[in-house]
Amino acid sequence: MNHDVAVHEVRLMGDADWIAAVEICRVCRIELEAVIELAELGLVQLRGGSEQEWQLPAAALPRLAMAGRLMRDLGVNVSGAVLAVELLEAQRELERRIRRLERLTE
């Protein structure tokens, strides 16, 4: 087995970064039509005038990636994926709060 060692400069995708919609599609392995629909349903924010100019915030990547996985792996449609992502996020937030309260009453 060959073994390479490399040191890389990295770029952190921050809150202020916007990424081209076509690139997001590649990263999240999701069709552009689905991204547009996800934006129309309010899961992500889309900006730009034409298809070539459309951009999404880098912070939306984990949400879109999750929606993509749910659609691909579980066969849910776009509306179902939006609902699932929002419910899962709400569930995680509640679980976080419960953990906090539990610590307070320990």
Binding site: V10, M13, L61
Partner: protein, 321 residues
Amino acid sequence: MEYRDYYKILGVARTATAEDIKKSYRRLARKYHPDVSKEKNAEEKFKELQEAYEVLKDPEKRAAYDQLGSGWKSGQQFRPPPDWASGFEFRGGARPGGGGGAHAFEEEGFSDFFSSLFGGASPFASSTRQRQQAGRDHHARVDIDLEEAFGGGTRTLDLKHPELKTDGTVELRARTVRVTIPAGVTDGQLIRLAGQGEAGPGGGRAGDLYLELHIRPHRLFQLDGRDVTLTLPVSPWEAALGATVSVPTLGGTVEMQVPPGAQSGQKLRLRGRGLPGQPPGDAYVQLKIVLPPASSPEARALYEDMRAKLAGFDPRADLRR
């Protein structure tokens, strides 16, 4: 390598119809999908399911797999027969089921058993991989501690990926990537290493490597975006009379004023003491009043004295409004 019983993994009989296989996969995928499942080893189970479904949903692969015979047991030592896959005709072009790129990506975590039969240079492997001009992006999850998110750090990652050699055989290449994690990263944030994904066949642009950062739960601090919350135990007299107390923060211990009359659950903010950023997060200190036990005669006498002298205090007054 070990034999994998794909029918057993999907919980179907060898005679199951394509529809039965699909239904069973959907049901189990819902149960073990890492995004929704709370089952132990969900990710591992889900990968097994994907691998089994990848084979059994495709008539060509299923037929070839069935040819191995039904005498094998899961976990039994296995080597592909020398004449493996001979006598089969293969469809050209895109991988059956479509979405060639996505499937190839998902195969990355599949077992050696799968790779030896259906991956790499086997006749079953996707031909889309050869035609692509740009290499695919690779993804990896990196778990870091809250301290690393606060102060940044260097992380060494061992990554493995199959690479097609010019003679058609597949070689597993390992590389170590040292990544500098900037201070102030948040949970779920992505790091992109441009050009560090799959090499672009035919000299095309290499894909990128995306690292998704996950911050491990911390013993003391709960993270919410860039804000951190700490539960700080205080004595009843510190809460009632006010006090200066030492509070651990991510950047070190600081002195904090507890105002007189503080209540359990009350939150005090230490501005800018959360994760660094623009703007930096805050540290919230949630007070938790801890009562000394009335376990000695002196302590008991003190509580009895309080009961007598603070008789007008009604902690449940709000309930009767």
